[in-house]
Symmetry: C2
Subunit: 209 residues, 2 copies
């Protein structure tokens, strides 16, 4: 796949696709500042220096714009956090890499102001039903399922006890990430990263007992 | 104190105070639905059936209204969750009561739609600086300090190990509460309460080892 990607010339990407990719990057940058709810044709047109009618060519509706932007963030997360984790040996090494990659993702400023996926989950957890909320819930479900699968593999590898509950592990893993994201934004300091790491080590330790 | 409260006749409370108390209850009910940011003189006047000018008599500004409403919620939390915990013996019994009382507070519908204090913390964690954000941060700090103090007492009572870190314990305790609050709102189910309780038991177990 890497070879195929390298063989593809940049010029083979149609201009409209390149424009759309640029617009989606701007959309993500905007959403990271004002939330996905604040991402509209009007605000994005101003941010990206493109006409509203230009945006209508790429997105059916405000919800479509928000959902496509969320998916771009999810793809970035897969590329930068999940994929490197899955390249590790099954079980605990994958789990460790997922956690440390996630911490890096939060702190690196890849997306301004921290973890935009967690931010979206917090933003829409109490929103009325709608396509964007459904997309956020689906994203949360996929992440939960992924961590659950890694925990199952850790049991299969004999690293976690046979009675370990993968679903419980996923709940607690995500809880630590979310708690860190929240405290970091609330108190505007990275000092609590070591608290999150210590919590993760304690979690792992009780499962590998 | 209870005797003193009982001896006090309701009629001794001035009418303006009673009106204000009613208005603050309406304000809290409104904030639990639309967030504290959505709590303004205009929205509250409509909800409480009182004129805007009537509200000006009680509150200096929108921020003052939001902060006073937050403080009412904090007083309710102290009354219903914190005080019963502090009536338990020092150390682990207090910690257990605080956690189970908090779970009840989330599920009881005392305040519609769950834990309004956690909701406020999520709402303002990425807000611009301002008096309401400062009040939310102060509330978080007080709660963190309280849990830290309970953990210190558990060490003094010989229930937690001497090397236990009260600050770490407080971070993780709050993390479990916040994770539960968030997942409950996101997935709209109470099914994960048992995950939160199991996480709390695991947390306690590692500290009481």
């Amino acid at each position: 796949m890497v070879a195929a990607a390298q063989a593809q010339k940049p010029t083979s990407i149609p201009k409209s696709e390149r424009t759309k990719a640029r617009v989606l990057r701007e959309a993500l940058s905007l959403a990271s500042r004002v939330g996905f709810s604040g991402l509209t044709f009007g605000t994005l047109a101003e941010q990206a220096g493109i006409s509203k009618s230009g945006l209508f060519a790429h997105f059916d509706s405000k919800e479509d714009l928000q959902i496509q932007s969320l998916h771009v963030a999810e793809e970035m997360f897969v590329e930068r956090v999940l994929r490197p984790a899955l390249q590790q040996p099954r079980g605990v090494p994958r789990i460790r890499q997922l956690f440390s990659g996630w911490m890096d993702w939060i702190h690196s400023g890849t997306v301004p102001r921290g973890d935009i996926l967690t931010a979206a989950a917090f933003e829409f957890d109490d929103a009325p039903d709608g396509p964007m909320r459904a997309a956020v819930v689906a994203g949360h479900g996929k992440m939960h399922d992924t961590i659950e699968r890694l925990a199952k593999q850790a049991i299969e590898e004999g690293q976690f006890g046979k009675k370990a509950e993968p679903d419980q592990f996923a709940f607690e893993f995500l809880g630590i990430v979310h708690a860190h994201h929240h405290v970091r934004r609330l108190l505007r300091t990275d000092l609590h990263a070591r608290r999150a790491c210590a919590a993760f080590e304690r979690l792992l330790a009780t499962y590998t007992l």
